[in-house]
């Protein structure tokens, strides 16, 4: 437990000392916020954004975007780099358990997701005045499920991708596909059917639905939450199966 606590605190500091990751996970959603907010504002239109204002739509989408950036790029690159350079081996020789190593990453992912989402919410609120979440209790549940899902997805990629380079390549590819087609980019309604189908195949699509519904006051999206839970279990299982210290 002591090791888990210390490792988590050190990992937070390491995250803050790595400017590229900070920009990628915390600043990118803010840039999106201002670009999309500047273009679309928050006046509802019946044709796009599920009939709600663009900023109401995007606020929970950006929470998902932050989780996805952690799970596709930040976490796999971090873990693959640790393995490639022998850091994991060094940890293991000192009897760090796999639970301390991955548990600290899960805690750090949570903290980054929460901080990033609060930043997006505050700046979004100040500039574009979207509505507050209608159902905060269920939103928190969706938030926890989404973060755990993408963290496990990151564990899976970090376990199977052999090197930092591979993790960067695959991670970036998945990041851009999910970002553009998964619901955090252009409104899904304007995309071609093919793009929509690819989008629906991404975990981000369902994480965003799961987050948006309680935010917007729609009914809890049971299918989305089941799909997210499924991705979580599958990713965790594969990560456990393929995790290597070296």
């Amino acid at each position: 437990m002591r090791t888990l606590g210390k490792l988590t605190w050190i990992e937070i500091k390491l995250f803050l000392r790595e400017p590229i990751t900070v920009i990628f996970t915390l600043a990118l959603p803010l840039i999106f916020l201002f670009v999309m907010g500047g273009v679309f504002g928050n006046t509802p239109s019946p044709d796009v954004y599920r009939g709600v204002g663009a900023m109401n739509y995007y606020m929970p989408s950006y929470y998902g975007l932050i989780m996805m950036a952690i799970g596709t790029v930040a976490l796999p690159v971090h873990l693959a780099g640790y393995r490639e350079r022998g850091v994991l081996r060094r940890f293991r020789a000192s009897s760090f358990s796999v639970w301390s190593v991955l548990g600290s990453q899960l805690l750090v992912s949570f903290i980054i997701a929460v901080v990033g989402s609060i930043l997006v919410t505050i700046l979004g609120k100040v500039v574009y005045a979207p509505d507050w979440p209608v159902n905060p209790g269920l939103l928190i549940l969706a938030f926890v499920m989404g973060t755990v899902c993408f963290t496990c997805f990151g564990f899976f990629l970090g376990a199977v991708l052999p090197s930092t380079r591979a993790a960067q390549g695959v991670g970036m590819l998945l990041f851009f596909i999910m970002m553009i087609l998964g619901g955090a980019g252009p409104p899904p309604e304007v995309m071609s059917r093919a793009m929509q189908i690819i989008g629906e195949a991404t975990p981000l699509h369902w994480v965003i639905y799961m987050l948006q519904n309680p935010y917007l006051g729609f009914e809890w999206h049971t299918n989305a939450s089941l799909i997210v839970a499924g991705v979580t279990v599958l990713s965790a299982g594969l990560a456990a199966r393929f995790f290597r210290w070296e």
Binding site: R2, L14, R17, R89, R90, A93, S95, S97
Partner: protein
């Protein structure tokens, strides 16, 4: 006293490469035990099997009464490891690493003391990536000691250290042992094994080919003393008749006399008798270097 480490018929292969063919040895509590041999001999593989970092193909290993294959993490908590190859996160600070690695033990050593002892005190706030090779190495040794291990494994610990730092490291390891920690030292440096180890196992091609105290190895395998001096006199047939002399070799003005017994005194007397009083007369005692040469027919560095 029962051994703290016992290894019987350890074998480990990587595909077709036989890294460790058949290795058996025991280490007693409080010893500094050395595995000495050239690169590729299988030393690292052997000690990493003992530290539960690699899985042996066959053989019985007991370390502190535990089997590394099935009780790995329990064992790792009680030992210290300085690995030949490993790294820390680039941006972790020196003190953070010591603090973190100390957290696995309930009675961890005060890392401020380790920082001072190992001469990296002024680097405590530096990041790992900014350290020099020698500083990284000293940090890794300090990390291996921070959990107050019962046994510490040091694999090529003086790699990257300058000669002065090496001497200091040897003294510090002696002190670690004097505090009750058993030390397993892996090295390809003959002088390091000779200076530091109570007992040495000479490893070559995945096997232990000799094992004894450094002194014992030298008296069994390399009894010959060498006496060296310079002279421009050409004809020295009488040197071969001095008691104990086995061989006389000449390289320009430099003469090397090999043999055993009190060679220096006898050669000196003969030289004076023949009117030769060289300024540079000296003798070289046999070292582990000669032992290795004798055992394998090769010098260790090649």
């Amino acid at each position: 006293m029962p051994p703290v480490i016992s290894v019987h018929n350890l074998r480990k292969t990587y595909g077709k490469t036989v890294a460790v063919a058949d290795v058996s040895f025991e280490v007693t509590k409080g010893e500094i035990f050395g595995l000495l041999g050239p690169n590729g001999a299988g030393k690292t593989t052997t000690v990493e099997c003992l530290q539960a970092l690699r899985h042996p193909d066959s053989g019985d290993i007991k370390v502190l009464g535990l089997d590394p294959v099935i009780q790995g993490s329990g064992l790792q908590r009680r030992i210290g490891s300085q690995l030949q190859e490993s790294a820390l996160p680039d941006r972790i600070k020196v003190w953070e690493a010591l603090d973190l690695f100390g957290s696995v033990a309930s009675n961890a050593q005060d890392w401020h003391v380790l920082l001072k002892q190992w001469g990296i005190d002024e680097k405590r706030n530096a990041t790992f990536a900014s350290l020099s090779g020698g500083q990284k190495q000293r940090l890794f040794i300090a990390l291996s000691l921070v959990n107050r291990p019962e046994i510490v494994f040091l694999d090529e610990m003086t790699t990257g250290l300058d000669p002065a730092a090496r001497r200091i490291a040897w003294d510090l390891i002696h002190a670690v042992r004097d505090n009750g920690t058993t030390v397993v030292l892996v090295t390809h440096f003959m002088d390091e094994a000779e200076n530091l180890c109570d007992r040495v196992a000479v490893v070559d091609k995945g096997k232990i080919i000799a094992s004894d105290t450094p002194h014992g190895l030298i008296t069994s395998y390399a009894t010959e003393v060498r006496v060296i001096f310079s002279t421009d006199k050409k004809d020295l047939p009488w040197l071969n008749k001095v008691a104990g002399v086995k061989k006389v070799a000449r390289h320009g003005n430099r003469i090397e006399v090999e043999g055993n017994g009190p060679l220096l005194a006898l050669v000196a007397a003969a030289l004076v008798e023949h009117g030769i009083v060289p300024l540079d007369l000296r003798s070289e005692q046999p070292s582990l270097e000669d032992v290795f040469l004798k055992l394998t027919g090769r010098t260790a560095v090649d």
